[in-house]
């Protein structure tokens, strides 16, 4: 035993074979593969969303009519500023374009935020988690003829709430969470998928959506009023294409102000009673579906508290961590199995040592060799 040198094994280096002078190649190849495989999580995101700016901007798979929405707002406001503002500034007050400008900025910013923010997407369960849940479902006892029920019941504020199992995301959906089929994601506090905005409206972007529709209703009403005033103040009428173009904001606003005002009113009611569009449509708490007295268990029972909690509550973080790197354990697993270790077959499990800080573990959990290496029976 006098011609051996011993040093401690670094568990992080397990995926690379023990370096020997005769085989320098494999370590270099593994490192290169690791570097190439270090991808960001948004690149491997399983839902139907699209990402821009290296994961900073997230939009739904189908952008719906978002370009139309932006176009309509820009064209209408542009025409208003070009044709109506000069006249009104001269005859009324200079605040008209100022107010219009502020409203326009609010509308555009809140629209972009609604469209480009993660609505509260729940990441899908990891394979281990899914297996654990399956085990629990199977062991919850059921006859062998029927598949076990995939619902769980919880008691929230003395109200029974049924949690459904999501087959796509492989987990029990938290309360108020729904799976959006267009985006193929479970979204927390799912309100609806808005085609005008091109994104789901959920927990994280509901306040942006509400700001958008409220400021848009103010903007359309304001433009409508201003253009009508302009028409009324201008003694002579007009004809021709130019006139039609100048007054088109009036027409657009006339048709949209009712629907947008209606929508704002509806959502104000939802905010005040702490409901989502999804729950309202399904009638979850209005007693339609159940015989007993069902009340909304999430409501704080005062309008002010409901409004404050929905609109001014703490901003929850994004759970999908778009710009983080995909953990390397999967890649080191595959690269290890491709390695040639001439002496012994390499089992996959030996190299799964990633995850939470392995360096926090005391050495005897990562090495089979005791510190003072003594090789027996050589």
């Amino acid at each position: 035993m006098n011609n051996c040198e011993y040093q401690q094994i670094d568990p992080q280096a397990l995926s690379t074979p023990i370096p020997t002078p005769t085989l320098p190649q494999p370590t270099v190849v593994v490192e290169k593969e690791k570097r190439e495989k270090a991808r960001k999580k948004w690149e491997v995101f399983p839902g139907k969303n699209r990402f821009y700016c290296d994961g900073r901007i997230i939009v739904a798979g189908q952008s719906g009519v978002l370009p139309l929405t932006i176009g309509l707002i820009l064209v209408t406001t542009g025409l208003f500023f070009v044709f109506d503002c000069p006249f009104l500034v001269k005859h009324l007050t200079v605040f008209i374009p100022a107010i219009g400008g502020v409203l326009f900025v609010f509308v555009v910013i809140s629209l972009l935020q609604t469209s480009f923010t993660d609505p509260g997407i729940l990441p899908r369960a990891t394979p281990d988690e899914a297996a654990d849940i399956e085990r629990q479902i199977d062991s919850s006892g059921s006859s062998s003829y029927r598949p076990p029920p995939r619902t769980k019941e919880v008691m929230i504020n003395q109200q029974v709430v049924k949690l459904k199992y999501c087959f796509t995301c492989k987990m029990f959906r938290p309360p108020r969470t729904s799976h959006c089929s267009l985006c193929d994601n479970c979204v927390e506090r799912f309100d609806h998928h808005c085609p005008w905005v091109g994104n789901c409206v959920g927990k994280r972007n509901y306040r942006f959506f509400y700001t958008f529709i409220v400021s848009l209703s103010f903007l359309t009403a304001f433009i409508f009023g201003c253009v009508a005033t302009h028409l009324a103040l201008r003694a002579q009428g007009g004809r021709g294409l130019m006139f039609a173009l100048q007054e088109s904001p009036l027409v657009i606003c006339f048709f949209s102000v009712w629907s947008i005002l209606g929508l704002s009113g509806f959502h104000t009611y939802l905010v005040a009673s702490n409901l989502t569009t999804n729950e309202d449509i399904k009638g979850s708490w209005s007693g339609k579906s159940g015989a007993e007295d069902t009340v909304n268990p999430y409501s704080y029972n005062t309008i002010i508290t409901n409004c404050c909690s929905v609109l001014c509550g703490p901003m929850p973080p994004s759970l999908i961590d778009r710009r983080g790197f995909v953990p390397v354990e999967a890649s080191s697993q595959t690269s290890a199995t491709e390695m040639e270790l001439p002496m012994l077959p390499v089992k996959k499990e030996t190299n799964v040592v990633g995850g939470p800080a392995l360096s926090q573990l005391p050495p005897h959990f990562t090495l089979t060799l005791p510190y003072s290496v003594s090789v027996q029976n050589v």
């Binding site: 040093q7 919880v154 001014c312 012994l344």
Partner: protein, 156 residues
């Protein structure tokens, strides 16, 4: 201390080392602590002691860790004067301050990450357990990885 490498020149000894490498660092199992929805949609984890950890860690210690974790999440999601102020200010600036300012929730999440790291270092790692920060699992579960104690594996 973890950075050194083993190099054996003797061929037979190398065989023994590789054989034992196969059996080391095997993750025995993972235990998942699910969310507790009895208080609504706020982030709260069940404090019930999982049976798989009975042989590993003291029940009271574990429940204390979970309770502190729940308290931290409650602090993050607390609706009160400070959060209203933050919300109103954000609304008035058309939510653009979220681009430059760290929200209260994010600050508490960093606190939680530090807490979990500290708990792992002080209590759970010596027992062969590792807690995963729930944020890495979408705030769905607290994942506890049980590492098998293989300190007696040498010499087959």
């Amino acid at each position: 201390m973890n950075e050194t490498t083993v190099q054996l020149n003797d061929k037979t000894a190398r065989t023994h080392i590789l054989q034992d490498l196969q059996h080391q660092a095997a993750i025995a199992s993972k235990v998942y602590v699910q969310r507790d929805y009895n208080s609504g949609t706020i982030c709260k984890f069940q404090t019930k002691f999982p049976s798989e950890l009975e042989s590993r860690v003291d029940k009271q210690q574990f429940e204390e860790t979970m309770q502190t974790l729940n308290n931290l999440y409650a602090e993050a999601e607390k609706i009160g004067g400070k959060s209203y102020l933050e919300g109103c200010l954000a609304c008035m600036t058309a939510y653009t301050i979220f681009l430059c300012m760290e929200t209260h929730y994010e600050k508490v999440l960093k606190k939680i990450a530090r807490f979990i790291k500290e708990q792992n270092e002080k209590i759970y790692a010596p027992l062969g357990l590792l807690l995963t920060d729930p944020i890495e699992r979408g705030l769905r579960v607290v994942e506890i990885t049980i590492f098998e104690d293989r300190s007696i594996g040498f010499g087959r």
